[in-house]
Amino acid sequence: MLVGIALAVWALVRLALGYPRRDPALRQLSARDQAFVRAAADAVFPPGGALAISGAEAGTLAHVDRYVASLSPRSRVLIRLLFFLLEHATLFFPAPGWDGFRRFTSLTPAQRAAVLEGWGRSPLAVRRTVFQSLRAVLTMAYFANPTVLRAMGLAPLAIESPVVDADLLYPPIGQPRSAVRATPADRERCVPRTPLDPHGPLDPAYREPA
């Protein structure tokens, strides 16, 4: 009986308690998810170094939340299960050190990196797949940051879209056909059609803030 109660208390503490307060601006991720994504993002993309901006500083958490919100309910569950799994898998694949069984977010940065490295280098294909899935979510979020892409020289270029017949037929998604603003005359508007200059101006969303 006592053992059962002790186990229940331990499970409650491990699973639910001690997480920082949830950021209410984020719609999808729970307090635990948010803590995990923040910790994992900084383990994969730590502060400083060649690309100075860290995973957390790059707004990874907000991007992941937005991404999860855009998914189907089933995909949302799968992504959150992935976070849950890695948060608690230290029970079976502990971090180095006597305290390596703690949940992922309670580990030191060095331990977190070691845990993820262990998943990524595992001889078990399924563990590598789990790591790659997490890495995919975090990497795509990190790369959504314009500063990151600018630093890498990979920010998208400015491109003006010419008006074609289809633009007179389809409104932007979710709007009625009366929202179609293009007219037949717009098709004649002169838009550059020459090869882009790789050193040309960036898309406005990726430009350095003035």
């Binding site: 993309f45 400083g48 060649a50 037929l169 409104p171 998604i173």
Partner: protein, 513 residues
């Protein structure tokens, strides 16, 4: 006729549906991807009244997301997170007007004659050869302006592939694509902002509307209606963009039904319509992919990969050996997923991407197959697929040849992305491990967007779902015209051959309705 708003056909969008509705047509086409769009256009051109149903919305440039993750979540089924069980294979199917053509790299390859001969032998076909399909390829090529990718928009990352192949004596072909006026934005996968790619939503679909076709977007066909050997129409519900939330119901009564919902969705639709057209038991079987993987090579000088056609060069040199090599670009965040490691070494490696080019290899599997079934009562699939070790070994050879090409083109290192092999290889001698080691399926991270086989064409009604006109063996007026009809891999990118077969089928159907 200069103003599309005055054309005889029409398009309805989500905001147009405020109540249940019912339509009549000669032919209802389900799915507006490359095959369905061609079929709808040809039937409309033949004077038939056509209703084209598409579950996704039309995307305008204002709706495109340059960001890779968000783009996938908006344009792909299940947010781009669809994968097979058995061997885990991420696979993406688009949900948009124009289907996959909105977010593919526009490669238009004709299936080689040797593969058609294999199809003919294995599937007992007598009228499906390269020569038979050539007029259909030609007509589509002329309509879409399919042409080799010009050098001025290749960008250095594509030309390096060409140079490496030439140095080794391998063939290198500039990719033929349905693109007119490419600017080298490399954004094929997130929607072409320069509007150069002739995706179906801006090419065949408007052309069908011009000829009188009615296009229903954001409608999910849930059931094919049938009586005995005759299909009588389809029914379903309006589906809200991105969420799929059901709206009013609709029904289209038609003299013939053409399914082009895709290799995954078409068999599900048949299964949930009373296991229609499945006396052979082949519906949903023989699920096949072109599993592929990429290798990243880093060069001494900046490659500036942000400029250049998404996939500008390919090598058909190894088709008979079972694989095809090509160049690849995608949103940087998607490509970076395959970079090894984490922490500061990863960040350092990311800075190399400006100096990088990416090649990929796809395999025409001989032994890897699976099946697709309904997941519960949903319209989502449960896909099982197994990557056979023999096919994985072929992909291993493809990886070795990509390494060869990189070093022949002057790469200072490559990142092969293979488990058990060093993260970075700095010379061909170091890369020798890729040639000597037989790779296992689990050693390679694979993905695929090329799918076929689940409603296969076969001369024997007991062994296939459709005949050579793509008419269901069991039905008098039900056609399947997507790449699910391929008996096996086409050896190259499947879109163009799917369209050619769809065109032939539509012309045959037009003569019967």
């Amino acid at each position: 006729m200069n103003d599309p708003r005055a054309w005889p056909g029409s398009v309805r969008v989500f905001a147009d549906y405020d109540r249940d509705f019912r339509l009549d047509a000669d032919v209802v086409v389900v799915g507006s991807g490359p095959c369905g769009a061609v079929a709808a256009y040809e039937l409309a051109a033949a004077g038939k009244s056509v209703v084209l149903c598409e579950e996704g919305p039309p995307f305008t440039p204002a709706d495109y997301e340059i960001d890779g993750a968000l783009s996938m979540s908006r344009t792909m089924r299940e947010g781009g997170l669809r994968f097979t069980s058995g061997t885990v294979l991420p696979t993406m199917q688009a949900i948009a007007l124009g289907g996959g053509s909105l977010v593919n790299s526009a490669m238009c390859n004709r299936t080689p004659d040797f593969r058609f001969q294999e199809w003919a032998e294995e599937a007992e076909l007598s009228r499906t050869s390269r020569a038979e399909l050539e007029p259909h390829y030609d007509a589509i090529a002329e309509f879409l302006g399919i042409a080799a990718t010009p050098d001025e928009v290749q960008g250095r990352r594509n030309l390096l592939f060409r140079d490496g192949c030439k140095a080794l004596g391998y063939s290198a072909e500039s990719c033929p694509r349905n693109v007119v006026g490419c600017r080298g934005s490399g954004e094929c996968f997130t929607g072409c902002r320069p509007r150069a790619k002739q995706s179906m939503d801006i090419s065949y679909v408007p052309a069908a509307i011009r000829l009188g076709a009615q296009v229903l977007t954001s409608v999910r066909v849930e059931r094919i209606l049938a009586s005995g050997r005759r299909a009588t129409g389809v029914e379903g519900r309006v589906a809200a963009p991105f969420t799929g939330a059901p709206g009013p119901s609709f029904r289209v009564d038609a003299k013939a039904v053409v399914l082009a919902a895709g290799v995954v969705a078409t068999p599900l639709l048949l299964q949930r319509s009373g296991d229609l057209a499945n006396a052979s038991g082949q519906v949903g079987e023989h699920l096949q992919f072109h599993p592929g993987t990429s290798v990243l090579g880093v060069f001494p000088d900046p490659v500036e990969p942000v400029f250049g056609a998404t996939q500008g060069y390919q090598s058909l040199h190894f088709l008979r050996e079972g694989f095809k090599l090509e160049t690849l670009w995608a949103p940087p965040g998607v490509l970076a997923v395959r970079m090894p490691g984490l922490g500061h070494p990863l960040k350092q490696a990311l800075l190399d991407m400006r100096f990088a080019s990416v090649f990929d290899g796809i395999v025409s599997c001989r032994r890897s197959e699976g099946r697709v079934r309904e997941r519960g009562r949903s319209l989502h699939p449960a896909m099982r697929w197994t990557f056979h070790p023999d096919d994985a070994a072929v992909l291993g050879r493809a990886i070795w040849h990509m390494a060869e090409i990189f070093f022949a083109a002057g790469a200072r290192k490559i990142l092969p992305g293979v488990a058990g092999v060093p993260d970075e290889l700095h010379s061909l001698a170091e890369a020798e491990v890729l040639r000597t080691r037989r790779l296992r399926p689990s050693d390679i991270v694979v993905a695929s967007t090329h799918v076929f086989g689940t409603t296969r064409m076969h001369g024997d009604a007991r062994r296939g779902v459709v005949d050579e006109d793509l008419k269901a063996h069991d039905m008098d007026n039900l056609y399947v015209v997507d790449t699910g009809v391929f008996p096996r891999s086409p050896a190259v990118n499947p879109m163009f051959t799917g369209m050619a077969l769809a065109r032939r089928s539509a012309l045959a159907l037009a003569g019967r309705v």
